[in-house]
Symmetry: C2
Subunit: 216 residues, 2 copies
């Protein structure tokens, strides 16, 4: 669910693209996507150009234009590449601590320097291709995180009919809201607080489906 | 807390600037800010120009340049003007229904057509002046909403030491996350669900300060 490669892989902020078997084509893609991340981290969306990426990657600019088309195509491929990993959410033994660990990864990604993840989110307001790719990546991350909820159901921490996606959104949304939209300074307690809030609400039946008729 | 004028004032998406006493200067400001909202709603940030705003407002372009400087200055003034109202959050008699009513206002604002509020948020990623003004506006809205929490405390729905801001963020963040960042289609149940989740968590002590040591 974290917005791009860095969080899942830990505190590293510019993950190296995966060197896949496949020779020259794969190698060029890795070089180019590394260059996009580096340029984006240094200059943001407004400073990102096809030519600078080609130069930094050491790849002929005609190749970059032919394969990626424009800056939106480059950003979309960076985002799509971020799903191409084996990231799994933390498994710490309880719902609340799983959510807290996840939120710590998200906070680390959103506050990393250079701000690759934050820049990709900002770019998704500018480029339709980046927007679609960012949504695919979020969908991928939230889908992978549903195991946090199914584990909690197996441990009898949650009722079987729990809306995993709504629970995950409730647990993680305050991080994005504060760091991406309100742009408040990072609060070291927020990852844990937001996790605890969601876990308490879940225990009280907030994400049961269909919702119970009564109140608390 | 809603991001700009429209939500507080209801479903209307392009609020007329307030016609204040004060004559020509105030009238010109009102005309120009109306024009900014209209241009932004029609063309978004990328299509917003000083000249188009001047033409639409029927104001000399030199006046617009002299008074607002650039597009960032125009956007910042639209956002600052949005705080200049007497909006108060809904008072419906219970914490959960106050939060639900607030969330319905937010959802209406974020999905309104033309998308003034959404465009202003997007613009805050582009212009430093708009960013600062957007943050001032959010601060103003969240501060005004704290009365929702103090009323709930007076009704004994919440303990006296409740962190109002964290509760309000928890209640509203899922709306912004889904509509502004994840860009999922509006879910008519989300305003109520998110309000209920926050109210249940609050009843369970999630926003008590300092947090109680135990769990549920």
């Amino acid at each position: 669910m974290t917005p791009a490669d860095p969080p899942p892989e830990g505190p590293r902020s510019v993950p190296p693209a995966r060197r896949r078997p496949g020779g020259r084509t794969a190698r060029i893609r890795a070089q180019v996507l590394d260059a996009v991340r580096a340029e984006l981290g240094e200059h943001g969306y407004d400073g990102l150009t096809m030519d600078a990426v080609a130069a930094r990657a050491g790849v002929h600019r005609a190749t970059v234009y032919r394969r990626w088309g424009d800056v939106g195509g480059l950003l979309a491929d960076v985002l799509d590449a971020a799903s191409d990993d084996d990231w799994q959410p933390p498994d710490t033994g309880s719902l609340q601590s799983d959510l807290a660990a996840l939120n710590h990864e998200i906070q680390a990604a959103l506050t990393a320097q250079p701000p690759i993840v934050a820049s990709l989110i900002a770019a998704s307001f500018r480029s339709e291709q980046a927007d679609h790719a960012q949504r695919r990546l979020w969908e991928d991350r939230y889908a992978r995180c549903e195991i946090i909820v199914s584990r909690a159901v197996r441990r009898d921490e949650l009722p079987p009919r729990t809306d995993a996606r709504r629970l995950l959104i409730a647990a993680t949304a305050p991080l994005y809201h504060q760091l991406v939209l309100l742009r408040t300074p990072p609060d070291p307690h927020l990852p844990g607080h937001a996790a605890r809030t969601a876990a308490l609400a879940a225990s009280a039946g907030a994400f049961a489906t269909p919702p119970p008729a009564g109140d608390t």
